[in-house]
């Protein structure tokens, strides 16, 4: 939907997209006090009492700075999206805690109420949790969880009855004691089951720990003080076990400082590639040959560095088609004094950093950026940007007054004219909290057809934002169910065509900043009241097409069968 409908501005103003974003905002402000995107802070009403800890004690271990991600997914298949918050753990020097901190699984009860079911679920380990990915690795219809930790990692198998079992050693996905980061389930070889990519950060140990000082104040050291590390790739054997294929796949020799990762088909050749954001090292793009052999092509594709040739402190990595040209673009959130980068996919040949020209980095420079969502917040058919911000040096204001430990998050609205505008000040009270955010997840928590936001804040309570944007735009949500492909449809490419608008998306497992969300694909449709066609290309080659689909509903597409009998509108749980 065009801005003109919301603001009643003449179209000549809309066409002047070269006007700087800030000026554009001031014009909106002059005539209207809000943006089409409205996010309300619903944190207090949810019943969520989770408080994150990074285990800090003043000794400034680097792992404290990178905790943690979160996941939104339907763990019990009741049609409502639940939330898993990852937690840190006490580190040497931390004060003793009566109750050891642990992750928190909150079941969505409906009506913006969530219940802590952690204990009942069995997700009660007290490891130091950094990243998470969710996927049905055994294709039994229930979402399993992989936790990438500082220390031993954990694969939790969903038992289908609300409980989970630690099957890490049993299935063979232990990676020893490392500093974890993001992780992804993906079907790298198209054999119908989910393989597992595990990113690792740096070779930090308590023995090689050091700190730095800035203007006399103690500060964390950066990643270059520690050795680079390699990532791990596990192939799913199809029998409930995995095999470490890092060496044979071509990834074991690549040393980096992995943070956010995402698996996506960025060259439209039908298989899933992997992008690893490295902290102060060139990013990796692992191009899949379709059989699970990867070649690193980050520099060749223009994703290793920003447009100025600078390596970035990459944190979050996300993929989506921002300009609806049928190619997945990439957005990376880096450190302070680095602009966030929007890499536009030039039809698979290379990527161009277009952050400056499009305004996709507006407001990001002074902050450390983490979780990122390229999601359609106002259902106008164009992906907006939600960027979670917050410094990692908790006393940074003492020696750098251009930034702050706690920061407001940023919303950049896609104008559909090749530009983003910063609407953070106009989105309602949801963008007011100033916290040190890390992971962010985007899912429809209240099943009302728009994407809500969940943010994990370091050392604090999370922020839960209810999307209260205008309901005049149409939408469709698509759940995939594989039969020959992996059951979640992870890696499948979905194309939705509605009138003049054609959009693509893929189901991902593991994305953004060490988080997971969006197993239900969400497409805003603007004012288009009908969908001519939805095409699904499954990993492994099969294609399903359904036509003439109604809007404003959640549908399930089953591989080889098409549309599952949809519920009538407004009958979602």
């Amino acid at each position: 939907m065009s801005v003109a409908r919301h603001t009643a501005y003449p179209s000549c103003l809309l066409a002047s997209w070269s006007i700087p974003g800030l000026l554009f905002i001031s014009r909106l402000t002059a005539a209207e006090s809000s943006s089409p995107i409205q996010l309300r802070d619903a944190s207090q009403q949810t019943g969520i009492h989770f408080i994150h800890t990074d285990g800090s004690s003043g000794r400034r271990y680097i792992v404290e700075t990178v905790a943690s991600g979160l996941a939104t997914f339907d763990y019990d298949n009741d049609g409502r999206i639940d939330i898993l918050f990852l937690n840190g753990a006490p580190l040497p020097g931390s004060p003793a805690m009566r109750t050891p901190p642990r992750n928190a699984l909150y079941r969505n009860e409906g009506g913006w109420k969530f219940a802590d079911v952690t204990r009942a679920s069995g997700l009660v380990d007290t490891n130091y949790h950094l990243g998470v990915c969710v996927g049905d690795y055994n294709n039994d219809g229930y979402s399993d969880i992989y936790l990438n930790n500082f220390g031993p990692n954990t694969l939790y198998r969903n038992n289908g009855n609300g409980t989970f079992t630690d099957v890490t050693r049993e299935v063979g996905v232990a990676v020893g004691n490392r500093v974890g980061a993001g992780a992804c389930f993906l079907d790298m070889d198209g054999d119908g089951d989910l393989d597992l990519f595990v990113a690792n950060y740096v070779g930090f140990t308590f023995e090689n720990h050091r700190i730095s000082h800035m203007n006399g104040f103690p500060a964390y050291v950066g990643p270059l003080h520690y050795p680079a590390t390699s990532n791990v790739l596990f192939r799913n054997n199809g029998d409930g076990t995995f095999t470490d294929v890092s060496m044979g796949s071509g990834i074991a020799s690549l040393l980096g400082a992995g943070m956010g990762v995402i698996a996506a088909d960025i060259d439209n050749d039908g298989d899933t590639d992997v992008i690893v954001g490295n902290d102060l090292r060139p990013n990796f793009v692992l191009q899949n040959d379709g059989t699970g052999k990867f070649k690193e092509v980050g520099a060749a594709l223009g994703l290793a560095y920003d447009s100025f040739g600078n390596v970035q402190g990459s944190m979050g990595v996300e993929c989506a088609d921002w300009n609806n040209d049928g190619w997945l673009d990439v957005y990376i959130t880096p450190y302070q004094r680095q602009l966030a980068t929007l890499y536009e996919n030039r039809k698979g040949a290379y990527f161009d950093d277009v952050a400056r020209q499009t305004g996709a980095a507006a407001g990001t420079y002074p902050h450390v950026k983490w979780g990122i969502g390229m999601i359609d917040l106002d259902n106008d058919g164009h992906r907006d940007l939600f960027i979670a911000c917050g410094h990692l040096i908790d006393n940074v204001e003492q020696f750098d007054s251009t930034t702050s430990y706690n920061a407001r998050n940023i919303v950049l609205r896609n104008t559909a004219q090749g530009r983003f505008v910063n609407v953070s000040e106009l989105c309602g009270d949801g963008l007011l909290p100033k916290l040190s955010s890390r992971g962010a997840a985007f899912d429809d928590l209240d099943n009302d057809g728009d994407l809500d936001v969940v943010i994990l804040n370091s050392r604090r309570e999370p922020t839960i934002l209810r999307n209260d944007s205008s309901k005049t735009n149409h939408w469709i949500q698509i759940q995939l169910r594989g039969t020959k492909s992996n059951r979640d449809g992870i890696g499948a490419r979905v194309t939705v065509t509605a009138g003049d608008l054609s959009q693509i998306d893929e189901v991902h497992s593991g994305r953004s900043y060490q988080s997971d969300f969006g197993k239900r694909l969400h497409f805003g449709l603007g004012q288009r009241g009908a969908i001519e066609q939805i095409r699904v290309k499954w990993i492994g080659g099969g294609v399903d097409t359904v036509r003439n689909i109604g809007v404003d509903r959640l549908i399930t597409l089953v591989e080889g069968r098409g549309l599952e009998t949809p519920p009538a509108p407004a009958q979602l749980p």
């Binding site: 070269s18 700087p20 974003g21 800030l22 004690s57 003043g58 000794r59 400034r60 020097g93 720990h209 050091r210 700190i211 730095s212 000082h213 800035m214 203007n215 006399g216 104040f217 103690p218 050291v221 950066g222 990643p223 270059l224 003080h225 902290d279 102060l280 060139p282 520099a299 223009g302 560095y305 447009s307 100025f308 040739g309 600078n310 390596v311 402190g313 450190y335 302070q336 004094r337 602009l339 290379y350 400056r356 020209q357 499009t358 305004g359 980095a361 990001t364 420079y365 002074p366 902050h367 040096i393 908790d394 006393n395 003492q398 020696f399 750098d400 007054s401 251009t402 930034t403 530009r419």
Partner: protein, 463 residues
């Protein structure tokens, strides 16, 4: 680190000009001093409230912090003493900026501009602060203000162009950076940014030219090679792109090895020397302000402190020497430098300036020993030879050796002044042809120098 590179004294230098140079200052510093033991004036600071359990700050970190605090304190005293002096606020703003306290810096820089709206340097620092805060519109405004009010400099144009690029105003950035690359003193960074602006606007051929010029001026400009690689790829020049990529990868690996901290702020473990140099500039600026306001004792103390902090910078010692010469306190000046020699015995500049004062005091033997020490410590620095030659000629002794010394000075630096000394030495040794040849060379290098012209005329009129 760009933050520490902002000199506290650039603008003050502009205001006060060359009024300190009673004699010609050394044309070139003799190279890094072998002396870097500096005693911080302030007590080691207490560390931040969060404390450190994993290990205390090392001595370099403590010293660096103490030095920055000293600079702020000294600049603060200057601003308090001279509340109507715009430069005092500019100095204080600069000192705060170097400690990361941008808000305080901006406050004092604004005060400077209230008193003197034409202080371009204040706009420059404010623009830097605005950019670091991500306020691009304000960065553009401040840069444009600086350009309106003062000389057009590459630094300001580069920052303006960068901000315009970050705002997506590519055409404006292209025009700005076109102006930057048209300046007489062409900077590598201007060419590089010019290239970037053209990359953004899709003019890859122009971009390539910009990057190429950038590496002509700075052969190790890592990002310029990246720019060349990318531009060549876009132009379909794949073989050439591969060569540039190879060079980029090599340089980038070296850069990464040097980069030990994730933030743009410098880890003080590696930056102590730069901190000393920057603080020295601030203290020097404070000294100049005190001097203008005729608080000479304070000025002298700060000139000396600057010299101690930055052993390799001749400017501070030259200013200290000039201070005592102007006040006709040669003996006091010599004593100050004598103390510096004791504190930093391997600093050639200390011996050099001591020699100059001893020469003025006609303590020729002492001056000779000082200059011999200069030669010993910095055997490839022409000034040591020239100064000793000049001393011998003034004292009318060892004139043959003076001629030899002058030739040695020319070997290291064939400058007008060195040829002049040779000419005088030749003449003193009755080598008129040699003198004429030398003075002609001096005039060829500095045709407007009246001293050389006078010598030439004298030689011509002498049979």
């Amino acid at each position: 680190m760009a933050r520490l590179a902002i000199p506290g004294v650039v603008f003050i230098g502009v205001v006060l000009g060359g009024s300190w140079w009673f004699r010609r200052e050394p044309s070139r510093a003799p190279g890094p001093s072998k002396e870097h033991n500096v005693t911080p004036a302030a007590e080691p600071i207490k560390l931040g409230p969060s404390g450190v359990q994993g290990g205390a700050a090392s001595r370099p970190e403590v010293e660096a912090t103490a030095l920055k605090q000293e600079a702020v304190a000294v600049a603060g005293q200057v601003a308090e003493a001279y509340p109507n002096d715009a430069l005092a606020y500019a100095l204080l703003g600069s000192a705060y900026y170097n400690t990361g306290r941008s808000e305080a810096a901006a406050k004092h820089l604004q005060k400077c501009l209230e008193l003197r709206p034409d202080r371009v340097e204040a706009y420059e620092i404010l623009a830097r602060v605005a950019y670091e805060k991500g306020d691009l519109e304000e960065t553009v405004r401040l840069c444009q203000e600086a350009l309106k009010r003062g000389p057009v400099t590459g630094d300001v144009l580069n920052r303006l162009g960068r901000a315009q690029m970050d705002l997506g105003r590519t055409e404006e950035a292209v025009r700005t950076l076109q102006q930057a690359v048209g300046l007489p003193e062409l900077a590598s960074e201007s060419c590089y940014l010019f290239g970037q602006a053209h990359m953004q606007s899709g003019n890859f051929a122009q971009a390539k030219e910009g990057f190429r010029r950038s590496i002509e001026l700075m052969p190790n400009h890592t990002q310029a090679y990246f720019g060349l690689y990318t531009a060549c790829l876009r132009l379909g020049q794949n073989e050439e792109a591969a060569r540039y990529r190879e060079q980029f990868v090599k340089l980038e690996a070296v850069d990464r090895k040097d980069l030990t901290d994730r933030s743009a702020q410098e880890d003080t473990l590696n930056g102590l020397q730069m901190v000393r140099e920057t603080v020295a500039r601030t203290l020097f600026g404070a000294a100049q302000i005190h001097h203008v306001h005729e608080h000479h004792e304070k000025a002298a103390g700060l000139f000396r402190r600057s010299a101690v902090l930055d052993p390799d910078n001749p400017m501070y010692r030259a200013a200290l020497e000039a201070f005592y010469v102007k006040r006709n306190e040669l003996a006091a000046g010599a004593e100050v430098f004598h103390q510096l020699v004791i504190e930093q015995p391997r600093n050639s500049l200390n011996h050099f300036f001591l020699g100059r004062l001893q020469g003025r005091l006609e303590e020729f033997d002492a001056a000779e020993r000082s200059y011999q020490k200069v030669k010993e410590l910095t055997p490839d620095w022409s000034e040591g030879y020239r100064a000793l030659a000049e001393l011998y000629l003034r004292a009318n002794r060892k004139t043959v050796e003076a001629q030899s010394l002058a030739r040695k000075a020319i070997e290291f630096e064939p400058s007008g002044s060195n040829y002049y000394i040779l000419a005088v030495a030749c003449w003193r040794n009755n080598d008129r042809p040699g003198a004429l040849e030398a003075v002609k060379k001096a005039l060829a290098l500095s045709p407007d120098e009246t001293t050389y012209q006078q010598l030439f005329q004298q030689l011509q009129s002498t049979p």
